[in-house]
Symmetry: C2
Subunit: 347 residues, 2 copies
Amino acid sequence: MSEQGEETAGARANPPYLLYLGSATDELSIKTARGLAHWRPAQCLGQHRRPDCTVSLGLPDLAIAQGRASGAHSMVIGAANAGGVMDAQTIADAIAALDAGLHVVSGLHQRLRDQPEIVAAARRNGLTLFDARAPQPGIAVGTGKPRLGRRLLTVGTDCSVGKMYTALALEQSLRRRGRPADFRATGQTGILIAGSGIPIDAVVADFVSGAAEAISPARDDDGWDLIEGQGSLFHPSFAGVSLGLLHGSQPDALVLCHEPPRRHMRGLPDYPMPDLVACMEANLAAARLTNPTVKPVGIALNTSRMQAHEAAATCERIGAWFGLPCQDPVSMGVESITDHLLACFPA
Amino acid sequence: MSEQGEETAGARANPPYLLYLGSATDELSIKTARGLAHWRPAQCLGQHRRPDCTVSLGLPDLAIAQGRASGAHSMVIGAANAGGVMDAQTIADAIAALDAGLHVVSGLHQRLRDQPEIVAAARRNGLTLFDARAPQPGIAVGTGKPRLGRRLLTVGTDCSVGKMYTALALEQSLRRRGRPADFRATGQTGILIAGSGIPIDAVVADFVSGAAEAISPARDDDGWDLIEGQGSLFHPSFAGVSLGLLHGSQPDALVLCHEPPRRHMRGLPDYPMPDLVACMEANLAAARLTNPTVKPVGIALNTSRMQAHEAAATCERIGAWFGLPCQDPVSMGVESITDHLLACFPA
């Protein structure tokens, strides 16, 4: 674990936000900012774009001083260059934000705290820096000890199949029904949305299950932690991260996430997608080590590349196989999964 | 990955060694030095002990200058204080070794490179520092791509059941039979013994399988890599490390290591030991993701806390269950496992 200075001691971002898009020219580079604007619209007061920026979140365009005047507490650097690098203009704008009285939050790979001029600006203004991709210090080794509270983990056949989106949709659904529910973030976009969390893939390997325990501590309010899964037990590059997260989460409930049209594991043309039943079984078997009563409660499909009738038929077919609700959280919501979750785990 | 200075760029220790025991007073604290003296006796020219040291490796006692004069190239700090901390005397002696012309190697948790006076002494003498517990920079994400060469991984029911010892014994056995064989180290003691390796549990989680790929690169000499396993798929704190190592190793052969009298997982009284058959099956199932033809070739038992007749009967019983050779590498050697390995994988 790297040392953190006082500027980052809070380990929690301060909304509301001004979203900095810089000179972004493609949609993919503002994915993190878009996720934040989608899931936390009330926290996003505006966007700040350089003159050469060609993309937009549809939020009011605000200069830094206007953002501060509108009530923003932090500026979020939510646009990544190739390589996640912070260019000179971004550094200058981060310093300008600090000098205008805004905390600065970043989802970039390159850390705010490693830029001496940004650290100096935070210090002289008494403001904080929050690097969503940097684990906080002091994460302990996992204990495997049972803890109070109910936890659902989204697991997947592969990377990028909708695990974060599904967990956020379930949080929203449970809250709408008046149930205490908290999304627990394990990746940088999720951390910006939640305002806290641990970027689990950046944790030193020995501490992955400990990090999962830390982000979903014991709770006794009959509420749910909805934990954002990462990777897949079947991804040869990242399965260790997925397993440590699974053990540390001690999930009571699993939702399996999948994208039906995907032909092979992300980035690995020679690795076919795992069989859905085998993937569910492998996750349940591994999860039983730390929670022997774990139950599957639903399947979440990403059908964005399918026709509507094909998506509906696929959900019906896969749901029937498993005897579980199966929905696309984006196009169909997650209400039947929530229904089944609450039926399996009565208050 | 932390940055490394030029003093550590080699990422390989330089034998022969003078073993520094400092002021050690208990056997456990010199475990690393003892492992090195046991497995690489020809590389260990002597030991250096402070006047208050009460333990011994049975090697000649040499002052630092004598060690250098005897032909040692490096001094190995092989004794750990409580907490793996480097005390002022150890720091002074490390500097004295560097000023006497010896490289310095450490297996301590606290790093040589984080001690400015030691770094300065290395620099002024043009010598290297090697921290066995610090992963080298530049480890890539695992690719899962098949590679040439044959690899055996020792897996275990738990931590500290003999995985390192078994891999080293198999290296020795294969070499005695004239087969190219290389122990590949994944923990600090193993790294000191091998002179190189990656402390896999200190790697950032996303890079664990990539680290395993890096330590056991493609080979085409019909030789074997004997990869030191870590942890257990059934240890709730560390299973993610074990799984990443298993996937990155792409093992052709597995040896399952176990200590029969153990009642519960190390450090976790509430976690019973896994069933041996279930443990073997889980390792094989996970290993098939990156090497579908993986085979189990033997069982290695640590019977040091058993009577000889009980140990022999247990090996016979467990071997018969699996239809595999089953031996205690310390008291019985590994020849029947080597026989079976070579029968399964003819040259």
